[in-house]
């Protein structure tokens, strides 16, 4: 067994182990963290295929941003896993049927000659990032831009969904805060200084 296949088995073992733990872990926080670990090991596998751009993008986007927000939400809400797992065995036959159908479909699709690209390992001479960028902005520029527009629409839609409801909030308008002048806050009053009278202290009870 040479070095690269040893690395492959190492990463794929961690990937499979953590992927199984994602669905079996009792604590949802652990599920999320195992998902992070499986993304990370998938990135390792991609590095092995010399696809460094994809690998780093996976870590950057999924590990560094998406899963952080997931963890954020999971930590804030109190999930009781026992309650959620209650009806599991009632639904099990349906779940098993759907997953078997999906698995056979995936196997059938992936066995097509289209997915068996033999030239995959002949890495291009220039860097991975260059190659992807060039293809993305020349041959596939229209689908790429369409995807970008769809994402933008999705972002705007998601934000506008959160803006419903009453607009009554006690937040502070930062523009007003910055626009404050000295004269709004400070009133200068001229006062003559008074002579200080020294009183005799009265005895307290």
């Amino acid at each position: 067994m040479d070095y690269s296949s040893a690395v492959f088995y190492f990463f794929s073992f961690i990937l499979l182990f953590s992927a199984i733990k994602v669905i079996t872990a009792r604590n949802p926080i652990f599920s999320a963290l195992f998902l992070v670990l499986s993304f990370f090991s998938a990135a390792g596998l991609w590095l092995l295929l010399q696809a460094e751009f994809l690998a780093i993008a996976l870590v950057l986007v999924y590990v560094g941003a998406v899963m952080v927000l997931f963890l954020f939400v999971i930590m804030m809400i109190d999930i009781n896993v026992e309650v959620m797992k209650k009806g599991f065995w009632n639904y099990f036959p349906a779940i098993a049927f759907v997953s078997i159908v999906m698995l056979t479909e995936i196997i059938l699709v992936l066995n097509q000659p289209f997915f068996k690209a033999p030239a995959l390992f002949e890495a291009p001479k220039k860097s991975n990032t260059d190659a992807i960028g060039e293809v993305l902005y020349s041959d596939y520029v229209l689908p790429f831009e369409v995807a970008a527009i769809i994402l933008l629409v999705a972002i705007i839609a998601a934000i506008s969904l959160t803006l419903r409801g009453k607009k009554m909030h006690k937040g502070i308008d930062p523009a007003l805060q910055i626009g404050v002048q000295k004269s709004d806050r400070i009133k200068m009053i001229e006062m003559k200084s008074e002579k200080v009278k020294i009183k005799k202290r009265t005895k307290r009870k």
């Binding site: 870590v59 590990v63 941003a65």
Partner: protein, 339 residues
């Protein structure tokens, strides 16, 4: 050196050689972290009309080592009902990316551990992982203060990462490469060729975002002593606390190093007749680190909503506009200025 290992198989010899190189990077880094704390205490001391540490060793030079010993011999207490495994994992998750990012940093034209093509992306990916340590530390501590601190910190880091990423887009537009060594070489030809000039707004935004990313004052709401005690590491003691401390300072040096590489010409000297070298890089890094300390001694802490506003509503639009501006200028006859 290679001859010694010739009797071993290649895999083992390269592994040993790489580990030696890693030690050669990490050991000086640890020393500089220790003396950065000393430097910080001295600088802030002088700015506030105090002397700073001056008891242990000459001029207090052994103070960081004394501090390290003190922390090492303290007990690590884990809070009741805390998740022990995650509680101890969090400091490790914080410090590992802080060190891993140094793998692609070029210290000189030849002096780099791993000269990969997508170096800049790698650094971005590594620094974006560091937030897990903070989140997990806050959650595993089973403490309200720690949890609030970690939520604040995570939101802040995720927000400022976007602005930071966009400033790097400007740099790679100028340099036409993601390789850190090539980015530095693209700035050769004296101080006028440094990317700080065409990308000046991006440089300012990068540096402010870097201060926010490392949770330093005035953006240190994650620790906010006056509000939430010490934020996400309030329950940590002894060496576990020291590791968080170490990671914060290692990250400070890292972002200063990146700023020096991307905007200030890295190891290149400002005038062409003086030879280039690692000394220039170190000088630039120390210069930038001084700003971190200066900020801490000067500015009051930002309010949390103002931090968010600054990141999302001011920095991101400015970076986007400047990227478009740079892209347009590259097509005109002034394009030479932006390369």
């Amino acid at each position: 050196m290679d001859n010694i290992f010739q009797q071993f198989p290649e895999v083992i010899s390269t592994t040993i050689w790489t580990i030696l190189k890693i030690v050669a990077i990490v050991f000086p880094l640890m020393i500089s972290v220790a003396y950065l704390t000393y430097f910080e205490r001295k600088v802030i001391g002088f700015m506030q009309g105090r002397i700073g540490p001056n008891r242990v060793g000459y001029f207090g030079l052994l103070q960081p080592i004394a501090d390290a010993f003190k922390l090492m011999f303290k007990e690590i207490i884990s809070p009741t009902k805390s998740n022990n495994f995650l509680f101890l994992l969090a400091p490790i998750l914080t410090i590992a990316p802080a060190f891993a990012a140094w793998a692609v940093i070029p210290f000189d034209a030849e002096l780099v551990l791993s000269d990969i093509n997508a170096g800049l992306l790698y650094v971005l990916a590594m620094t974006s992982i560091a937030v897990y340590g903070v989140i997990i530390a806050g959650w595993a501590s089973n403490s309200k203060y720690a949890f609030l601190g970690s939520l604040r910190s995570a939101a802040q880091i995720v927000s400022y990462e976007i602005a930071m990423g966009f400033t790097l887009v400007g740099v790679l537009m100028c340099a036409n490469s993601l390789n850190l060594g090539e980015i530095v070489l693209g700035q050769s030809g004296g101080i006028s060729q440094w990317y700080v000039w065409p990308l000046f707004p991006l440089f300012i935004i990068y540096f402010i975002s870097a201060v926010a990313e490392t949770n330093r004052a005035p953006f240190d709401v994650a620790e906010g002593e006056s509000e939430i005690v010490a934020g996400f590491h309030v329950e940590y003691s002894g060496m576990a606390f020291a590791v968080f401390f170490l990671a914060e300072y290692a990250n400070m040096i890292l972002v200063s190093m990146l700023a020096a590489l991307m905007f200030l010409g890295g190891w290149l000297s400002p005038v062409e007749f003086i030879p280039d070298g690692i000394l220039w890089l170190l000088l630039k890094v120390i210069f930038l680190l001084f700003f971190f300390l200066w900020f801490r001694a000067t500015f009051p802490r930002y309010r949390y909503d103002q931090i968010m506003r600054l990141g999302w509503k001011i920095f991101i639009p400015i970076t986007l506009i400047w990227i478009i501006f740079v892209g347009l200028m590259m097509q005109t006859s002034y394009g030479e200025m932006f390369h």
